[in-house]
Symmetry: C2
Subunit: 120 residues, 2 copies
DNA sequence: CAGACATACTACGACAGTCGTTGCAACGCC
DNA sequence: GGCGTTGCAACGACTGTCGTAGTATGTCTG
């Protein structure tokens, strides 16, 4: 098992995508590549998942889209993050820290039961 | 935001439940209480989610059930973890470490962009 | 110049897990 | 007798992901 199952990361796809838009607009294929690369091939987002996330997030006002032709003349749909999107991203980051802390109370490092220590 | 949204923890409900069965059999209501308590009220699993998890996991062979009456004579359905369940739990623990590492590459501590450092 | 491959995106229906709601039944408590 | 807690089951709705398929352009290779 060296890849991540999708239902685990579900709920963070949007966050991941928004992260990659923080600095500059980008488009589907590039984002897909970046996720793959930055995760060392451990997570490869499905195209349908990605594009449906775009649609959903645009509807929610987290991103906006515009069409632009690339150097070679091909059309691309670029997405930019909005202020709402930035706020949402930040929220999710905070939520992540909480979630991580909570889940780890139910996770044992080696798959063995670790009894809660005092001062936990 | 001081509670966890469900789609974030989705994919770890089974793991959490199995964790609580590692030492001894338990039943729905008690597990629900334990999750609530151990998470400091930050995560409260829905009843329907919990009981449908039981059904699913029993079908998958991760747990087995038996009925027993409590002190007061009320009937309860207890669940025990199986060896398959323990193996699954262990797997999920390992997967968690990987997932955590990957997600954190897309999370910035204060919601601000942290550029990847060399040697990352 | 044909065919393969990468790029870039859209549409459709299926599926799994969660959730809201409802209902029921037994017990304790005031 | 009504209310809250315990303990569970059944139903249908909804959301996000996924498999599949299709379209279209550009590049590379033989």
């Amino acid at each position: 098992m060296n890849t991540i199952s999708s239902d685990v990361i579900r709920g963070y796809n949007d966050t991941i995508i928004l992260y990659l838009l923080l600095d500059r607009p980008s488009y589907g294929y590039e984002i897909s590549r970046m996720i793959r690369t930055l995760s060392d091939e451990k997570y490869v987002i499905k195209e349908t998942t990605l594009y449906s996330a775009f649609t959903r997030m645009e509807k929610n006002g987290y991103i906006t889209s515009f069409s632009r032709s690339a150097e070679n003349g091909k059309r691309r749909t670029y997405y930019s993050i909005t202020d709402t999107g930035r706020a949402y991203y930040k929220e999710k980051c905070e939520e992540w820290n909480l979630t991580k802390e909570v889940i780890e109370r139910f996770i044992s490092p080696g798959g063995m039961r670790a009894l809660p220590k005092a001062g936990n």
